[in-house]
Amino acid sequence: MFGRKRKQATETAVGGKLPMSLGKAIEEIVRRYKRRDALHFEGKAISYQELDENANRVATGLASLGIQRGDRVALMLPNIPDFAYSFLGIQKLGAVAVPFNTMYKGREISFILQDSGAKAIICLSNFANLINELRDECPELNHVIVTGQRTLVFLDPDATVNVQLVFEKSRFAEPDEAMKALGAVFVKTFDKLGVPDPWYKHQGAVRVGGRKIATILLSEIENLYIGNIVTFLSDMDSEPLFKVLYVPPEIKDKALEPLTSISTESGKDVTLDQFKEALSLALSEDLGIEIETGELTRDEMIAYEKNIALANRI
């Protein structure tokens, strides 16, 4: 029934042996072209053998997380070598790759993860909070595997506020509890500033309606949790960002998440001082913490100078 006009395939390592799985096919290719370049990335060449070894590392790594033949593994990655390693690793494991658009947000992602029943996703580190926010809707998603350092935070002097909280892990029994506490503190902060009905779902964001008013990222290092929060006093003017970062004009509106701000939602101008007061009050009411304005210690100042130098090294 199929392919009445089938023609003999061009001669390749896998030609003639129809049909072969992608995993087996790549093994044949690697056997034949081992030392030749498979990929080029940022001026470096990656040979077929290296590609295969990295794919094998992904395959065995995924297997150690319990991923098996037939399981779906989502991919939310740009064109970087990790895409090729992950894709081929998934194929060699006999699993099913589910790549999707890296510009997707919210429900677009949640639908694909639910419908495919993906057990794991391999994504850029900066998408972690986008995915974590949706995790309670995607019960089959057991692993969020992150790679790459492609964070890009845009600061608009009139709009963006950055908040960091550095605190002992021991304060909370588990990360989820810490996330919930942070979410509650910011919901209360926005409440105090007159934002109607802010809500916090799981991880990642405080929203008003479906729009994001604050991004919350919780990281851990040693005995500490570090909360990184970006919120907006007024609507951000993102146009200048596109002067530096090329985004085709017809997809600009899809490049950023739908955002909102404190002044848009509350209908009044809010200053950084007022925000600080509201946050301090929320911390004290919710977590029983008294806030005292202070300075960096001498040791911290040294670390600060070093980090300023590193940040400006670009």
Binding site: H40, M76, A97, E300
Partner: protein, 470 residues
């Protein structure tokens, strides 16, 4: 009451936002190992930057000159290592790879097992997951592709198309690897990044979309002599390529462009309008090797050459159906093996296919079928028009009426009247757009297809997150 320290920095810099958090964390960790004598309390830092800025991860390439001229400060986020902070509830890929083994034999699977699910956004409702099997990819790479592009192991292919899309994945990465060629990854598209990749890697094959060819030509017009001449084979897909672009590109870059046609459901290409002798303007070419194509009427019988109907495809490169969606599978995948593309078109006397419209985009006015594509082509012949898209809008009586969205060329202005006159001069009056809207850009998909659903206002913003149950 427990006391926390507040570091308040209302007039900070972009680098401050990075450095304060890092300094406090480092101080705390040093304290834990008693390298520091001062006990630092838990801390909250509130900062605002007085200038515009970007905090960029170590892998982000920021255009420094552009940043400086736009007065945007750039600060680099600390490079992550094994001992640095990581997002909770995540696993680093580098960690599972380090623990994994570099040797592994591929697991045996059946040729008809799914290899990939690719979601396509339908016109309404949820996207559909297209199931693509190992058989589909094997057939696409080793039978369909070589009948259109003569890949050799010496080729260097520019990987600029997104790999999450069937075109970039199937005709880019997978085809390249199947032939032992090499693939140059472009992580973030910009016209300059693409041009640099072609030049730096001496690329020989370029699969791309029409807008990329247009962008490259825009750069080339300024300095035509400096354009790389290594390309020997280019493919355009995703949307129709204007003939003038094809001709100019061929002259400037010395490479011919073939236009491919395919769908996610066919694991990418099924036909190709190959440049050179057999080239036919506006066509999608003949069916590729191992692919049957036909034109059917609504009753499912094959139409005569020249008659417009739905284009159908039968081949081993065709998907077995949609994941988890029997209803949609039944509607588009027939029992006799034909896949209904939803594209309307015809076949000429030489067996060359032409697409006219998407079936669901047809405008029906007073019992007449109006082809939006035909109206668009007429509008685009107007010298001041850059781009146009035509859709069905509803008039007061709830009937279809022709609506045009028009992007004018840079610096040009055109009136509704001029467009209307231009249309009546060249087309039957009932086809003339009754409503005209001038816009800056047309909404497009990742491969440059105009998103008519957005123009029709049928889409809901699926980027929003629902609150769900409290």
């Amino acid at each position: 009451m427990e006391k926390w320290r507040l570091i308040y920095n209302p007039e900070g810099s972009t680098a401050d936002v990075v450095a304060h958090g890092a300094a406090v964390a480092e101080g705390r960790i040093a304290g834990k190992y008693q390298l520091s004598t001062t006990v630092v309390p838990d801390t909250v830092i509130v900062q605002q930057s007085t200038t515009r800025g970007i905090i960029a991860g170590a892998d982000v390439k920021v255009d420094k000159a552009a940043a400086a001229s736009a007065e945007i400060a750039v600060a680099q986020a600390p490079r992550q290592g094994r001992n640095s902070a990581r997002a909770v509830s995540t696993t680093p890929l580098s960690e599972i790879m380090a623990q994994g083994s570099r040797k592994f034999d591929a697991v045996d699977v059946e040729p008809d097992d799914p290899a990939v699910l690719l979601y396509t956004s339908g016109t309404t409702g949820n996207p559909k997951g297209v199931t693509l099997t190992h058989r589909n990819f094997h057939f696409q790479s080793l039978t369909v592709v070589p009948s259109m592009v003569p890949f050799t192991p010496d080729d260097i292919v520019v990987g600029v198309l997104p790999l999450y899309h069937v075109y970039g994945l199937s005709n880019g990465l997978i085809a390249t690897l199947m032939f032992g060629a090499s693939f140059a990854l472009v992580p973030q598209y910009s016209p300059q990044a693409l041009l640099d990749a072609v030049a730096d890697y001496k690329a020989t094959i370029m699969p791309a979309i029409p807008s990329m060819y247009q962008h490259l030509l825009t750069i080339a017009r300024a300095r035509p002599a400096k354009m790389p001449k290594t390309l020997r084979y280019c493919v355009s897909g995703g949307a129709p390529l204007p003939l003038n672009v094809l001709r100019e590109f061929t002259t400037v870059f010395g490479a011919e462009i073939s236009e491919g046609y395919g769908l996610t459901e066919t694991a990418s290409s099924v036909s190709c309008n190959v440049s050179g002798e057999g080239y036919k303007e506006g066509s999608i070419g003949k069916a590729a090797a191992g692919v049957e194509m036909a034109v059917l009427n609504d009753e499912g019988s094959e139409l005569e050459r020249g008659e417009v109907g739905e284009i159908v495809i039968r081949s081993e490169t065709v998907s077995p159906g949609y994941w988890n969606n029997e209803e949609a599978t039944k509607a588009q995948f027939q029992d006799d093996g034909w896949f209904r593309t939803g594209d309307l078109g015809y076949q000429d006397e030489d067996g060359v296919f032409f697409i006219t419209d998407r079936k669901k985009d047809l405008i029906i006015r007073g019992g007449f079928n109006i082809s939006p594509r035909e109206v668009e082509e007429v509008i685009m012949q107007h010298p001041k028009v850059q781009e146009a898209a035509v859709i069905a809008a509803k008039d007061k009586r709830g009937e279809d009426t022709v609506k045009a969205f028009i992007v004018t060329k840079d610096g040009e202005e055109v009136t509704e009247r001029e467009i209307a006159d231009h249309c009546t001069d060249t087309m039957a009056p009932y086809k003339r757009p009754r409503v005209i809207e001038f816009v800056d850009v047309l909404p497009k998909s990742a491969t440059g297809k105009v998103l008519r659903t957005e123009l029709r206002g049928e889409t809901v913003d699926r980027r929003l997150v629902e609150r769900g149950e409290k």
